[in-house]
């Protein structure tokens, strides 16, 4: 869905940006303009950002776990 309608930024865009290294609302505002116009999307953007960061972290942990397994085997 579109998180920020003013700037046309979707949750996919935010998730992609997080995968590319973005990690804060400030960066999100500077790079994509999220929550810089009407501000309605601030809460929603925060939730999506937190969820994306968490998912990235989980994926990261999982990937390193697999590596460890391989090492021990």
């Amino acid at each position: 869905m579109y998180v920020c309608l003013c700037k046309g930024v979707s949750d996919h865009t935010i998730r992609q940006a997080v995968d590319d290294g973005l990690s804060s609302m400030r960066e999100l505002r500077q790079q994509y303009g999220v929550a810089s116009q009407c501000g309605c999307c601030k809460q929603c953007a925060k939730e999506v950002l937190a969820d994306a960061l968490q998912q990235k972290q989980r994926r990261f942990a999982q990937e390193s776990l697999i590596d460890t397994d391989v090492c021990y085997a």
Partner: protein, 154 residues
């Protein structure tokens, strides 16, 4: 006729929900039309117009109770990027509207404003019907797959 403050506050809250729904449905309807999904456009366009009529009822009621209808405030629009997502987001919005209307009705009842309660009851009836239609569409998509479903909505 001077109305109860609490009732006026609740009516304004429901009004905000309705104004949000008008815009969300209108944009979704025209997105469907843009993609050639005429049947979905027709249905959702009508839903938007219905929301507008409900908003009108609430505005008139607030003015009669000597309050000031707040047409400036608008909630967050839940705009999807694909038809199935748009229907799911409409259902989500509709459910939160229903919750708000139920809470408002309880307060109207408590404050003995039965006319406002009856008006909200009429709105709630329409909302439940629409959320049921949305649920049916989401079920159909699950059962027949989104491609087949959309083929029936051209």
């Amino acid at each position: 006729m001077l109305g109860n403050q609490q009732v006026l506050q609740q009516l304004n809250r429901v009004l905000t929900h309705k104004l949000t729904a008008i815009n969300q449905y209108f944009l979704h309807a025209r997105m469907y039309q843009n993609w050639g999904l005429q049947a979905l456009n027709d249905r959702i366009y009508k839903a938007s117009i219905h929301e507008m009529k409900y908003a009108d009822d609430i505005i008139e009621r607030i003015l009669l109770l000597e309050g000031l209808p707040n047409l400036q405030e608008l909630g967050k629009l839940l705009i999807g990027e694909a038809p199935a997502e748009m229907l799911a987001l409409d259902a989500k919005l509709q459910r939160s509207d229903i919750d708000a209307i139920r809470e408002a009705m309880a307060i109207c009842e408590e404050q003995q404003d039965y006319v406002s309660r009856d008006m909200l009851n009429h709105i709630l009836d329409g909302q439940e019907e629409h959320v049921d239609w949305l649920d049916t569409q989401l079920d159909l998509i699950e059962q027949m797959g989104v491609e087949t479903y959309l083929q029936s909505k051209l």
